[in-house]
Amino acid sequence: MDFGGISRRHLLQGGAALGLSAAAGLKPAFAAETTIGFIYVGSRDDYGYNQAHAQGAAALKKLPGLKVIEEEKVPETDAVEKTIESMINLDGATLLFPTSFGYYNPHMIKMANKYPKLHFEHCGGLWTDKDPKNAGSYFGYIDEAQYISGIVAGYTTKSGKLGFVAAKPIPQVLRNINAFTLGARLANPKATTQVIFTGDWSMPVKEAEATNSLIDQGVDVLTCHVDGPKTMVENAARRGAFVCGYHVNQSPLAPKAYLTGAEWNWEALYPKFVKMLAAGESIPNFYRGGLKEEIVKVSPYGEAVSDEAKKHADEIKAKFMADGYTIFKGPIKDNKGNTVIAAGTDRGQKDPELEKMDYLVEGVLGATS
């Protein structure tokens, strides 16, 4: 099946009425609107994962000719199928963003098969050749931004001890922990990262306890990979530690303690998707990128970041932007002393081996099981 053709035909049939071209700002005279549906697993103002997507949705709302509808707190069950159906049948949505990881299989796949003329874009990078062509799954290499955070953290720490509050030891999380640590050791070769797994994506009391335990251990810069970093950021700042954020910019919560952070940049990506459709192009089913592709970004530096740290971090950031930098460059040992990436092997961002990461690099204190 030629996806491009279908897409074009769809656009010719419905596109004029739907005013997709108006979305691109080419023919704003079209009266009808394109409706885009966003589905979040949690609350869209959680200072975390869902807020990042909601900011992307907000960027679309600013474009003329687009109508954005949103639904929050949709569990990763049949409920998401019902939400999709109602967005399509009641609101006339033609492009859907079910943003949570667990929406993809089987729920979104089922809906994409049922409505072959509509577009489905999922966040998580799960698309394979077997999946419907009108479905896509995009993801960002946010470990690049974590690497920059690590550099800043490495310069800022006085004790040389960094802390990472993590949800679960899955590859995406381990990759962030490892990138953060490798970045920190670039700045301070003796720096270590103590990691604590809370066991789930949203456990405010555990996250607060983990933050306190880390600080009791002498950790003075913390970051995290949980759904809502608010608890960690606020509790660490209260104890006088510095923080690097995650998902979105949390500096309003702790302006003095906030160093920098790894953020999603959906507000840059989503308008691109809409423009692709409006121009009659198809969105690649498997869309990925990092800082260079503007899918992730780094928060502005906080006041506690030294000039030396800024200079080094900006230098590396520039290399990422020029596509000339590899984080996982051999030789890399795990924290048990085994070589996981041999000398001379470069594991670039798109290397599928990195998707299977099951180790913590040298310098991380903690274990994956």
Binding site: D45, I196, K206, E209, S213, R238, R239, L253
Partner: protein, 308 residues
């Protein structure tokens, strides 16, 4: 140590700190439920009350700038929910457990709905009293920054224990819980006693919620309670309807919740899921050890629908 780390001492310190920080909501909800159950009714809705309390405390504190007004609002919201539970249960042939489950869902749902705009703003928090001023170990000082609500809770436990034993009110509540007929024969309205007991229970549970949003972890979000209200209700059974045992059980639960993260921070990384589950394993163990097929639970009010 020179680098300011205290090594393995983190673990007992974290358990101590956790017992103080994490236990307060357990303590308030379990003491509240203790009053309600002693009067012969189970209010399973306290999870909803806890979350509503957390939300209303945060909202009022944010709008008024005074966290103490927030605590009061949380208590009043809780009392209102208690009145609702008691009101519905006083109708004939209404099961208090079913009403409790309904109110639990209603309370959490309503709190999430009304609390939507409160996730982002930062409200004024309750102050902490520095009991660690004598120490120069920052970790110990941090653990000993105690909120006054915790102290009130700790004082409330012996007070309730004494009140159940020696005061007229305590006796009335116990009578209503042990034998509704006896209370009626004495000329008292059982429904009124239970209404008041459920309202008092709701009031305390609401205050427990205000601790969550205004002190620790100290902000409003939807995952805030994650079942602490239900755990606290179970804790009452585990504590044999005795306020003093509720206090010890709450402290044990708080300490156990801190154990998982603390052990990981000192490098005990294997089986952290097991340590995270420590509070629940503890409950199961004690339940198994103390249960007996030959008798009903000692201390259980005879009018409770689970023992009747």
């Amino acid at each position: 140590m020179a680098d300011g780390s205290i090594g393995l001492w983190t673990v007992p310190l974290a358990v101590l700190g956790g017992a103080i920080r994490v236990s307060t909501p357990f303590l308030f909800v379990s003491l509240g439920e203790c009053i309600t159950e002693r009067s012969g009714r189970i209010n399973l809705g306290l999870e909803g009350t806890l979350v509503m309390g957390a939300m209303s405390a945060y909202g009022i504190s944010y709008l008024s700038g005074s966290p103490w007004l927030g605590v009061l609002a949380a208590g009043l919201t809780g009392a209102l929910f208690g009145a609702l539970h008691a009101g519905i249960c006083s109708l004939p042939r209404v099961n208090d457990i079913a009403v409790g489950i309904a109110l639990m869902l209603f309370g959490t749902g309503l709190a999430f709905y009304l609390g939507k705009p409160l996730i982002e703003p930062t409200a004024a928090r309750l102050p902490a009293i520095d009991f660690g001023w004598w120490s120069d170990i920052p970790q110990l000082r941090a653990a000993l920054r105690i909120n006054v609500l915790f102290l009130i809770g700790v004082a409330l436990a012996p007070l309730l224990f004494w009140a159940f034993r020696t005061t007229r009110w305590g006796l009335l509540i116990r009578t209503a819980g042990e034998s509704a007929d006896a209370a009626r024969a004495m000329g008292h309205s059982v429904l009124l006693i239970r209404l008041r007991a459920t309202m008092a229970g709701g009031f305390l549970a609401g205050i427990g919620g205000s601790f969550l949003s205004l002190f620790y972890p100290g902000s409003w979000n939807e995952g805030l309670s994650s079942g602490q209200g239900i755990t606290a209700v179970a804790l009452v059974i585990f504590a044999r309807w005795d306020p003093m045992l509720c206090l010890w059980a709450s402290l044990a639960f708080g300490g156990a919740a801190a154990l998982g993260p603390a052990l990981q921070s000192v490098g005990v990384t294997s089986g952290y899921h097991l340590f995270n589950a420590a509070p629940y394993i503890l409950t199961l163990l004690i339940m198994i050890i103390t249960c007996s097929p030959k008798r009903t639970l000692s201390g259980a009010p005879a009018e409770l629908s689970i023992t009747r």
